[in-house]
């Protein structure tokens, strides 16, 4: 079961359909079982039951999740696959001690793959949809996987299948989410 985490400003918010809905539709399409929880409602039972986690993005002005780093500490001990999307990448990086830094990108941007990884195998680069005011510094335990001209676009833990993507793969790059789901099956 995939745990989809909604990082928006409140449970059932107006942003939910924009940032969580497309991820849920993609999971439905691929037949992957999932349950969705707001980040304030993720507890031990959800974490224990999850084979993998997808942390969804938020609206540009929606940074409330970043004021509650304690809500994401469970990620440090979660050794199964994680995909942090945009704000989700920020939450993942913050859990591993990395700060955010200003870098605003809105719209389509060219992303270059920097290091080999199953997520981007066979691709040297691709255009991606960006919607963020901040990028993240790469945590010590992670390596950069892809970058735009302005900032790091993808990171992966050095030894665990924990990924952060600054762009939104659920718009125009669904194949990346599908590959991530493939990793979940492999780990199982």
């Amino acid at each position: 079961m995939i745990l989809v985490v909604d990082l928006c400003y409140r449970d059932g918010s107006l942003s939910r359909d924009e940032f969580v809905g497309p991820v849920e539709r993609l999971l439905r399409k691929t037949g992957a079982p999932f349950c969705t929880r707001h980040y304030t409602a993720v507890g031990a039972p959800e974490v224990e039951a999850a084979d993998a986690v997808i942390l969804c993005g938020t609206a540009l002005r929606d940074t409330g999740f970043a004021e509650h780093p304690e809500r994401f500490r469970w990620l440090l001990a979660f050794e199964r696959p994680v995909l942090g999307i945009s704000s989700g990448m920020r939450a993942l990086a913050a859990a591993f001690g990395a700060a955010a830094e200003p870098c605003c990108e809105i719209g389509m941007t060219d992303v270059r793959v920097l290091a080999p990884d199953p997520l981007f195998a066979g691709r040297e680069g691709f255009p991606a949809y960006e919607l963020h005011e901040c990028a993240v510094q790469v945590p010590d335990a992670f390596i950069p996987l892809a970058a735009s001209d302005r900032c790091v676009q993808a990171i992966r833990h050095r030894s665990l299948p924990l990924y952060g993507l600054l762009f939104h793969p659920e718009a125009r790059n669904e194949w990346i989410v599908e590959r991530f789901l493939g990793l979940v099956k492999t780990v199982r």
Partner: protein
């Protein structure tokens, strides 16, 4: 949160408005009227009737005109959002963007510059479920523009009811177009919505159609009891 809805009078912005009303406080509609028929951002047939739809919804309308020059119209959008912020204290903007990154990114950029939230509640939807929900919720939507094969003149003025949706589904499959018309295959006008206190009656309309391109221009319309 007080929100203004970028409103064209078509199904997407009207449905987005309804979604926003269920979560936050919609305080005004915002319409940018483009004089350029080629505008990617704002052009739509019958945009002048947004005022009548706003009246039906009981919401004030902020209207701004634009010449529709590519980047100039973003300044006009900014002007419209500033006016909405000054007059109605909006803290955020709602759009009916479905798939167009071109449109969504530009609105996001302007909202960011003005410190406004931006909401796209229809973003990347299950198109089938969206069209079903539109009909189930009681929206009365009329096709007022067709811009691709195989739509002939008979489509102009048709209401999107279950029968029409079945036909659209068939066409979408056969001609590989979007069910929602997001690719610009057709344009719509909402004559009734769950939040309208009165519905719009089209009293006089004219069709202009040629080679799979046509519009239904609503010449005269009024509000009637539901």
């Amino acid at each position: 949160m007080k929100l203004g809805v970028l409103f064209s009078g078509g199904k997407d912005s009207t449905f987005a408005c309804w979604k926003a009303m269920q979560q936050e406080e919609v305080v005004c509609l915002i319409t940018v009227i483009s004089r350029n028929p080629e505008s990617y951002m704002f052009h739509t047939p019958n945009i002048r009737l947004a005022a009548l739809q706003a009246e039906a919804a009981g919401l004030p309308l902020v209207e701004v005109e634009t010449a529709g020059e590519k980047e100039e119209e973003l300044l006009d959008l900014k002007r419209a959002l500033l006016a909405a912020r000054e007059r109605f204290g909006i803290e955020g903007v709602v759009t009916g963007a479905i798939l167009s990154i071109y449109q969504a990114a530009r609105v996001q950029q302007v909202c960011l510059e003005l410190g406004l939230w931006c909401f796209n509640p229809l973003w990347s939807p299950d198109q089938e479920a969206y069209m079903e929900e539109l009909i189930d919720a009681g929206f009365k939507v009329v096709i007022v523009g067709v811009f691709s094969s195989p739509f002939d003149a008979s489509w102009l003025g048709r209401e999107i009811d279950r029968r029409t949706l079945d036909e659209l589904r068939e066409i979408a499959r056969k001609y590989r177009i979007t069910l929602t018309g997001e690719g610009g295959e057709f344009e719509t006008f909402v004559v009734d919505a769950p939040f309208f206190s009165r519905r719009i009656a089209i009293e006089e309309a004219s069709k202009a159609y040629r080679n799979y391109n046509g519009v239904l221009r609503i010449e005269r319309a009024g509000l009637v009891a539901k």
